[in-house]
């Protein structure tokens, strides 16, 4: 009878032993491993991002003086407009504070804006994430809202020492409270599996029956202060059509998102100035 050779099944034995060990090993060890490997990789991505910035710098240096003077003029015009807007905003903020004090309204959440460069985009059928070049070094908290010039970008899902991972609103795992502009009633926005080669889309649910949307006059879906993560009024997308949902009580429809979400270069992370203390809030 041929002798059974253990070395022939050595790979399978080693695999079985490793699977058993992986199952037994505590979650903290796995978490430590993940963080260690992620932090080890981060410098390469941060360095790549800085190299991109350097490339942009040299590309701009190659522009002619006439182009730079023209660009400078445009910036000066934009600056004066923004200065005027800043003054107007300050006046309106003071007016709002005065009215809130008269009406004895509860205070709103205030945010600090931390602008961050996008280091990497990971957009596919399985996940829709971007990585930004700021992390614990800028006190970015997990769950913080992320926005850009076109509105809501997503939410921070992982914070490392120098980078953070942001889940985009296009991700099917992303869900938030929203409302239509000019209508305070809340609806639910959720990301969708993207079909690719087109405009990013999401879905809206629980819209009241009396809300009407059309291709000619699409509804603007904006963020609401419900949930506490996002400030109210930030653009999510446009809803060109609503139809009865599965329950028949509410309506549902597709949300057309900003195509710039797929090629973001810079975003702003909203860091709450006064984080909600759930223990104190829940206390009677």
């Amino acid at each position: 009878m041929a002798k059974f050779r253990l070395d022939r099944i050595k790979p399978l034995v080693a695999l079985a032993a490793f699977l058993a060990a992986w199952w037994i090993v505590p979650a903290t060890v796995k978490s430590f491993l993940k963080v260690s490997f992620a932090e080890f990789q981060a410098p390469a991505w941060v360095a790549t991002s800085y190299l991109d910035d350097l490339e942009g710098f040299w590309a701009r240096r190659s522009h002619s003086k006439v182009e730079l003077i023209e660009a400078g003029r445009e910036v000066a015009r934009a600056k004066s407009l923004y200065q005027f807007n800043a003054q107007r905003k300050e006046t309106l903020e003071n007016e709002i504070s005065r009215l809130e004090a008269i009406l004895n309204l509860p205070s709103r959440r205030e945010f600090r804006y931390e602008v961050a460069r996008v280091v990497r985009r990971d957009l596919n059928a399985w996940w829709q994430h971007i990585i930004v070049r700021k992390g614990k070094d800028y006190q970015i908290p997990e769950g913080a809202a992320v926005v850009f010039a076109g509105g809501v970008v997503g939410r921070v899902v992982e914070v490392n020492a120098f980078t953070s991972r942001v889940e985009l609103i296009t991700s099917p795992n992303f869900r938030m409270a929203a409302n239509f502009e000019g209508d305070e009633r809340p609806v639910i926005y959720q990301g969708l599996a993207q079909g690719g080669f087109g405009q990013p889309i999401g879905t809206v649910r629980d819209a009241p029956q009396d809300v009407v949307a059309s291709r000619q006059a699409p509804l603007r879906l904006v963020s609401t202060r419900l949930g506490g993560t996002f400030p109210p009024g930030l653009m999510i997308g446009r809803v060109p059509w609503l139809e009865p949902g599965s329950t028949g009580i509410f309506q549902a429809g597709k949300v057309e998102l900003d195509p710039r979400l797929l090629s973001l270069n810079e975003v702003a992370v909203l860091i709450p100035l006064y984080p909600i203390d759930l223990e104190t809030t829940d206390a009677p």
Binding site: W127, L192, G196
Partner: protein, 176 residues
Amino acid sequence: MLLDPRAILLFGANVLLLYLTLLVNSALAGWSIYLFLLGPMLVFPALYLRHQSYFICVLLTGLWVDAALPAPFGLFTLGFLCAGAFVFQMRIRFRAEHNYHPIVLAHGLNFFCILLVTLALGTPNFSSLGFWFQVFVTSLASHLVLLVVAPWFFNFERMLFALCHMDTEPEDFPIL
């Protein structure tokens, strides 16, 4: 020797391949195209190294990929080790000195990785046509690119062996 120095080189090459792939994916994000090129990472460790070195190389590669991608931690580590063990068991049947067998293996392993991540992360979207369309586009683009990338990657790994004056023949090379 506890660890074949070639394992370190192969791990370095895998790190480079992942980095370049993610860099290209980041640039292609605007066109909704994603490349998934993990298959070639397992081929040479399974064909060239002794079991101990193969295991360490594939384990480190799996942990590296797991940390880089937002999949549940351990998915690629365990997936790579399972697929690697399968290839390692049958490595006597493959000729590693030419690119033909490694390329076929790379395509097979890459398809396995796509299947693995689809089953692990895509379950809630199985009813969505858009999801399957994007998985199809990703698979097609990845395997088309792999036709070019896999031979380059294997030649690059052989070149690394030669540059570092290491053995360019696989361990347990079958004598026919």
